[in-house]
């Protein structure tokens, strides 16, 4: 009887070593707390819920403590585990282009085509990337790491994941989480900078209504866009190719089913997989490092620089534009390619000062130009540093 009780006791003790309670560390608890904060922000504040819920829950999944020496094959970094297989889409970099396919199929480039000079705002805002690159280099990161971190300033999650998976795979978790966090915090980061850099007169500036764009122009745009940008930066092909392909599916008017799949079930599926696996990749042991803290700091700076450079560029650009063609500097922030949040912020801030001045349509131009600009910038960094 005594032996049997001993056997049961040993069994239970053995079982205890496999539980999360026995293997929990402070790091796990901190990361679980961060995951819960993400879920709270998504549910209560509605900050990018489509991203923060999968990432937040992924953080919970990735930080459930377990006995790593037991060979359970459940962790995201254990080769052959289910999570590891799903994570291949991130590490091999094929989730981001599929997301771009969906983005292309849901993006209307009319605002940009009708007023193509707005493309230049999208280019100017990319200075956020290279400003952050310079700071990262000054801090002491290697060029490839600095490039991967700097892309956070592109405000484009899939691009950030794509580039970091190539240039600095070990920092990818922190970079992805940082990029998505700041994208969710765009409504908090951008408005004070926009107010600071503009006068009341500039904020009240009205822009002429964009002209109607023909179907032919809409069909030509993705084709010419692909050929021009990818001939210039072939390394941006996976992202730009899929972006413009998705847009052609939408605008051709003869592939409605394909376009609907790309912007509906496909992008939803990939968003779920990408979000959960990126969240799960933030295992405390890999994630809680000094580098991660630096990356978060640099990410915030890159968003500030990008917003600043977008707004200041519009102000400078207005100096050479005729009076009736001037641009409201409040759409300068939209060059940061957090589609469509940064464009929505232009609209919100504009309406605060003039309830009849609708800037959304105009802001969508630099916003989608920012998507193209950040993909081009990623291609350049990849070409130079890979």
């Amino acid at each position: 009887m005594g032996e049997f009780i001993n056997f049961l006791g040993n069994n239970l003790a053995d079982f205890w070593t496999y539980t999360g309670f026995a293997n929990a560390t402070t790091g796990h608890l901190v990361m679980i707390l961060v995951g819960l904060v993400f879920i709270y922000l998504a549910v209560a504040k509605e900050f990018e819920p489509m991203l923060l819920i999968p990432i937040g829950f992924g953080m919970l999944i990735g930080n459930i403590p377990f006995n790593t020496e037991a060979g359970l094959n459940v962790g995201i970094y254990e080769e052959g585990s289910v999570l590891n297989i799903l994570y291949q889409g991130v590490t091999s970099g094929w989730y981001p282009p599929l997301i771009f396919l969906g983005i292309g199929a849901m993006t209307d480039f009319s605002a940009l085509i009708s007023n193509p000079k707005l493309l230049l705002i999208g280019a100017a805002a990319q200075f956020g990337i290279f400003g952050a690159y310079m700071i990262a280099m000054a801090i002491g990161f290697e060029p490839s790491q600095a490039g991967a971190i700097a892309i956070i300033g592109g405000a484009d999650g899939p691009t950030a994941i794509f580039l970091s998976s190539k240039l600095a795979p070990n920092l990818m978790g922190a970079i992805a989480v940082s990029a998505y966090s700041y994208m969710a915090l765009v409504p908090v980061i951008q408005p004070p900078i926009m107010r600071l850099l503009t006068t009341k007169k500039e904020r009240l500036m009205r822009m002429p209504a964009p002209r109607k764009v023909s179907h032919t122009e809409k069909v030509i745009f993705p084709i010419v866009g692909l050929l021009l940008t990818c001939f210039l930066v072939p390394s941006g092909l996976p992202l730009l190719g899929m972006l413009f392909f998705g847009n052609l599916l939408k605008e051709s008017g003869v592939t409605r089913r394909l376009a609907e799949t790309a912007r509906g079930p496909l992008i939803d599926t990939i968003t779920i997989l990408l979000g959960v696996t990126v969240g799960a990749s933030t295992q405390a042991s890999e994630f809680l490092t000094v580098d991660s803290i630096l990356i978060f700091g640099l990410g915030a700076l890159s968003f500030v620089i990008a917003t600043t450079s977008g707004v200041l560029f519009v102000k400078l650009f207005n100096l050479i534009l005729p009076k009736h063609k001037r641009i409201n500097p409040l759409i300068g922030n939209a060059g940061v390619s957090a589609v469509p949040d940064s464009a929505r912020i232009s609209q919100t801030v504009g309406l605060e000062y003039d309830p009849t001045n609708y800037l959304l349509m105009h802001a969508m131009g630099p916003n989608v130009a920012g998507v193209i600009g950040s993909a081009v910038a990623a291609g350049i960094l990849l070409g130079f540093l890979m």
């Binding site: 193509p116 910038a377 130079f384």
Partner: protein
């Protein structure tokens, strides 16, 4: 029209077909001979611990290439050319992207897939050829007489220039199963770290490229927009002119039709409006199988 398109398509296919055949040596081969060592005294040993001559092939592509069925041919001096067909069914014949495979020229194929039937004669010039599984010559090289433990190799993997290697200087190492030019550092990274420690150079270069790309797009769509607008204005002018011409004779007739349509629509709309309701409520009985009379009757 469709026949013309089909004709163009077929012509293109036949042009591509004609231009891609009739070559004696493939110029864009994915697998190349990369390095040969004829006299092995103290160099790399095979799996049996024996020093033998070897031939290295290199997969130049970024995809895996299976060389099963490929042929290695060796001709030493006046001897006949001896062929060795790489056996099928060995997973090791799949060469990964930008990787190498090493064949031992020991004349003992029973020792494994990578031991070939022929030997290299270290005292004579050797000709080595590589054929694909369709018998097409992919690559060939004449290996001069070499000192012991010296190899005849491409300067770098897949480089066109062949050199003798075997010294202790950098880039002169004999490199079986590995890169002919040993990569000891990441040159791009180091170049940026040394010459652009602040990142200003990268920022200027990259921003210039981003701006150039988007400026080109801007110019293209500005011109396209102007073209479309002028086309639209021409079309609208011609439509207006045509409408004016037609309207001279038919204006009275058209106006009458329009008035009639408006009157019909108004009549239909106003006919459904009641000034006074009857005030009688009618409950329409809804019948179905469930409340049908025969279901409710009791025997």
């Amino acid at each position: 029209m469709k026949k013309i398109h089909l004709g163009i398509l077929l012509s293109l296919f036949s042009f591509v077909g004609l231009t891609s055949c009739g070559e004696t040596e493939s110029e864009d081969s994915k697998v190349l001979l990369n390095e040969v060592l004829t006299l092995n005294k103290g160099n790399f040993q095979d799996d049996y611990g024996v020093h033998n001559a070897w031939i290295e092939v290199f997969n130049t592509s970024f995809g895996t290439v299976d060389i099963a069925g490929y042929k290695l041919a060796v001709c030493s001096g006046s001897n006949d050319t001896i062929f060795y067909v790489v056996p099928k069914g060995d997973v090791q014949t799949k060469i990964k992207p930008r990787q190498h495979a090493l064949f031992w020229a020991d004349g003992k194929p029973n020792r494994g897939t990578f031991h070939i039937t022929c030997k290299l004669d270290s005292a004579r010039t050797n000709w080595v050829g590589l054929y694909d599984n369709g018998g097409k010559l992919l690559d060939q090289v004449k290996v001069p007489v070499l000192q012991a433990d010296h190899s005849y190799a491409r300067l770098d993997d897949a480089n066109e220039e062949w050199v003798v290697k075997g010294g202790n200087e950098a880039n002169s190492y004999v490199t079986p199963s590995t890169n002919n030019m040993t990569i000891e550092k990441n040159s791009k990274q180091e170049k940026f770290a040394e010459s652009d420690a602040t990142g200003v150079g990268m920022a200027i270069t990259a921003m210039s490229v981003v701006f150039s790309g988007l400026i080109i797009l801007y110019v293209m769509f500005r011109l396209l927009g102007l073209g479309m607008q002028s086309k639209k204005s021409t079309e609208s002018k011609s439509v207006e002119t045509k409408a004016e011409d037609k309207s001279v004779g038919k204006s009275t007739e058209k106006e009458g039709e329009i008035y009639a349509a408006i009157a019909m629509a108004l009549h239909e709309e106003l006919g459904n409006v009641h000034d006074e309701e009857s005030g009688i409520l009618t409950i329409a009985r809804n019948t179905s199988e469930w409340n049908a009379k025969h279901q409710l009757l009791r025997k």
